[in-house]
Subunit: 691 residues, 2 copies
Amino acid sequence: MSTAEKVKVIFQPSGRRGEVERGINIIEASRQIGVDIEALCGEKKVCGKCKVRIEQGSFEKFGIISSPDNLSPWQKEEAKFITDAEREQGYRLGCMAKLDGDALVFVPEESRAGKQVVSKAARDIPIKWDPTVRLYTVSLTKPTFEDPLGDFERLCAALEEKHGLKDLDVDIFTLRELPGALRQGEWTATAAVWNEKEIIKFWPGEVTDYYGLGIDMGTTTVAAYFCNMRTMEVIDTVSMMNPQCKYGEDVMARITYHMQNPGGLERMSGDMIEGLNTLVQKACEATWPPKKKKRDENGKSMRDDDGVIILEEAPEKDKRYLQLNPSDVMDIAIGGNTAMHHILLQLDPQYVGLAPFPPVIHRSLDIKARDLGIKINRGSYIYVLPNEAGFVGADNVCVLIAEEPYKSDDLQLIIDIGTNGELVLGNKDKLISSSCATGPALEGAQLSYGMRAAPGAIERIKIDPDTHEVDYKVIGRDAWRSFSKPEEMQTKGICGSGILDVLAELYTAGVIVKSGRFAKEQKSDRYRVNPDTKQKEFVIAWAKETSIGKDVVISLKDIRQIQLGKGALYTGCKLMMRRMGMEKVDRIKIAGAFGTHVDRTKALIMGLFPDCDLEKVSSVGNAAGDGARAALLDKQKRKDANWVARNVEYIELTVEEDFEKQFMQSMQIPHMVDEFPHLEGVVPEEVLRQK
Amino acid sequence: MSTAEKVKVIFQPSGRRGEVERGINIIEASRQIGVDIEALCGEKKVCGKCKVRIEQGSFEKFGIISSPDNLSPWQKEEAKFITDAEREQGYRLGCMAKLDGDALVFVPEESRAGKQVVSKAARDIPIKWDPTVRLYTVSLTKPTFEDPLGDFERLCAALEEKHGLKDLDVDIFTLRELPGALRQGEWTATAAVWNEKEIIKFWPGEVTDYYGLGIDMGTTTVAAYFCNMRTMEVIDTVSMMNPQCKYGEDVMARITYHMQNPGGLERMSGDMIEGLNTLVQKACEATWPPKKKKRDENGKSMRDDDGVIILEEAPEKDKRYLQLNPSDVMDIAIGGNTAMHHILLQLDPQYVGLAPFPPVIHRSLDIKARDLGIKINRGSYIYVLPNEAGFVGADNVCVLIAEEPYKSDDLQLIIDIGTNGELVLGNKDKLISSSCATGPALEGAQLSYGMRAAPGAIERIKIDPDTHEVDYKVIGRDAWRSFSKPEEMQTKGICGSGILDVLAELYTAGVIVKSGRFAKEQKSDRYRVNPDTKQKEFVIAWAKETSIGKDVVISLKDIRQIQLGKGALYTGCKLMMRRMGMEKVDRIKIAGAFGTHVDRTKALIMGLFPDCDLEKVSSVGNAAGDGARAALLDKQKRKDANWVARNVEYIELTVEEDFEKQFMQSMQIPHMVDEFPHLEGVVPEEVLRQK
């Protein structure tokens, strides 16, 4: 098999096609051609999400003959996810089937990596105005024979005299703008100064407003706060899926992708940079005035020679329409977990994934935007927040500088639940942090019908204790199931925030018992043993209510996954409290999208985190994003970040002596009345005292 | 005339050809095709050096029909340089004739921009070893669960403990090398640290030797000293023509090129960067081991499948053969005059050419090599020396930090003669500097037969006072004219160092008088009135001795040009001495190639600079290059450079009250016995007392 040989491949229903190297697998082909197929496990062959169908036949329109025989032989691992009937139809796993000839590949809806509904709004946290980048306007005298001082020294003298700025450096690209700016502004100019140290931009005349972004770079979602750096106003919040999702859902999958693919790190980094550039562009374009159709004197819309309607700027140029461009962005502060941090910066992330998990660097970095390929003002820096440890990254530092537990008397427990759970415990006297492998289950991934928070995802559920009948609600539809026709639901799966609801309801309705097993007594035909998988399962939505033509179920295996996740989190909290020698915490803060959506009562019922006055359990929203925004606007926060990254003590929990025992106990649904006195009066007595 | 239309053009004798846009002139076409035509005046249409001949006829081989009619119409300014007979033959000026159709262009030898013989060897000046970039080797302990500190912080802790380095930054590209280097070197690594501030390179294990270049970027020649930065040894001296020469010979011509051509600045800068990259590559390749033919057991040289002889490395790998690559270069210090400085950095140079001549910046700059496109170690900086003023640039600063007049008790006059003369006068108490428009004449340019110091250029001359017969010597031939057959001389013109000889000899032999006019009594037929130009002239070399088929003469106009140059220099010296209130100087130092070649006695006879004990007049060679090398190896020199750039007082001489009067007087050949008592006993009595 020559590696130089090419085969043709077409993806349906998108219709995208191209030529790829013979011998690559379908996932890789989809990446090259630009089709998104779910690859939750990062091609570790364990999630089965990348199921696709190879069509049989001659497709003259595309000049190919497609056949399942054009692929590498069937692997027995594929049988775990593909039934014999499906195999007959041509189903394969995209990560296993390699192209040995032309193929038309149909990507079923559940295998498509959909566009997630992202809601990460900026919270109103108090931020002091003391940005790293500031503007200064000065007026100069013109050079003469008596005073032929050079432009830069002339400007610096004025900046020192008027603003006390000394020994300023200047970026070479910025310096090129100086002679023109001075003369165009008739010897009045504005300089953007970074860190009281380096001039990164010149404008002719006086300029007052300038712009920046605080960016929270999550494993799944990237959210940016676009700010006016003078007024601190959040002009817009923009977000996108992390474009690296196609290389694997979690950080370990991406680290694995890097280790197994030469150039993989550069590719993932490049995708992120490209994404960030698009994000900045999008933020700027939102400030542009709306266009309207250009009309002739008769009011008819005008067309150009090609028949295209001509648009022109709307007349009212109100304050909202700033017409900003990426080159108007003077500063960016960005934080992400250690793996995202390393991948962005092309720092080898493999050791972050290997015990004892040392990161390449902890401290914050100031990197010229152009060195990363980020297209903002050419002289500007990107401020990259510092990492605490291999598994507690800059995203957690962002949460800390937003929430400032290091200034608090109260003992706070801050939980940031993503694919990895990050925990911080303490107050102004001491802070410890840890991470726990909650796994993707709490976010809905790696479950039979888990999915991201996208339209069609079940997010709320109620189960009747008497009949075990189910009512639920999906994202993108206000009406619950009981108020809809089945076919209106278009259900697709269960999202992260729905998962806890499901489990808590299954338990309080008596479908499952404390150990997580299904109860002996079942009240509906929703409970069954799946004839194909032989697994016990409970039907949440019948096939007729879904857009995927299949029952959406939760299986015993799914329940175990969730228990593993919640057990890991609870063990983490407990062990950290033991380390700090404390019985209870004063306050629990839950960061991230999970926190925004989670039902506190149900979380306590499931024993996700330790008992606490429900009033003192709060969601702090996208605290990571808030922290990045704070670092953009207040340089003290940058100092705090470096301090906190080095002064929060990281605890590796898995090496604690009785970790295994604690973990086994934590997987159980807890005995509420003993462990969660705060639930008294909140949940029904019989649930509270259930054995 | 559509601008998109193309015409074919072929240059002879080089045979280079290509398609260019219809309507551009021949000089521009030659640039695009890569043929060097002399354009001394930068297309200001005043030098006449770019004379070319358009051939008439059908050139089937090239598929073109060439004709002088294919060019834009004859301009009357061309008649200044092209005789009617030459016009008949198809001669045109390359800067005026535009291509309106295909053309075969013959470039006569005297119009070709030849390769100059450059000799800028490194002098032995005392330099202290204290480079800005230093290497440090440390051994670390491996990370463990108890000590999971990140790679960078682990390294920094060791660098602080062992070498006292604190708060180090790191270049992002360098940081990417860290995890690999640490593990490859089994936790021993070497870091290159810039300015005790930033790590710019990592190597696994221990590394001791590292490399750098000190570069003197002249208007005409660029010379680089390639140094081992540990031992301070100059491994090699490499040089090249300034690739910007094709845009004009002097700085004003290049500034004009920038102002008249959009993108011209970027083009000139790009050419310099490309040249510097080639220079670095050349320096490195000189360290590679020689290749030898690979031989089989029978001693026969071996060939590959294509029949090409296979080369292999010579066996003796002695210390000389380092096999360095540009990425081994850790530092570069570069200096040039203010215009060269600005063009290199793409800083608008137009104000440097306009009164009161303010530069864009004085102070030194540390610029990431990659930001300039200079291909050395990716994390390294280029140190760009500071400018004193618009007409006294970093090249002069280099001379000063090499010669250190600011540490001297003696009153020194330092003269750096190029196209622009740069003067520094003073001692440790006070230093003043100035520049004077010596013009290109002292270097041999803009004279009828002036040329660069290239083979065929007259460099020494003697004129017999009794017969006015001439003997001379050319570069590239040891034998003088009187010892050669005429056709062996292959004379082409007169170079800079020859010019002063010519004038001094013309004067002492009585061919010209003090005012510069030809003497009434002439003794040979070498003196004549040119029938074409009607100019008085004196033949230095007859046509039969030349390779250009024409008499090489010096005309009255040429003599005037030289007088203007030497007058400007002498006026500068005198006015500066007056400013400092001094009658005489203790020491005169002449920097640059001019200084190396000039005959001190003849310079005094001509009155180039003030009287001084001949023993105290010395050439300091390429002091600018030595200064750049000093700045590479001793960071104190960089501090000195910034200090001296701001503390040498720049005097604009042309605004002195009696400048004109002084200048008129200085143009005369001086009255030696009065003004130059030190010439007594050195020149014949009758010359010394000549009126």
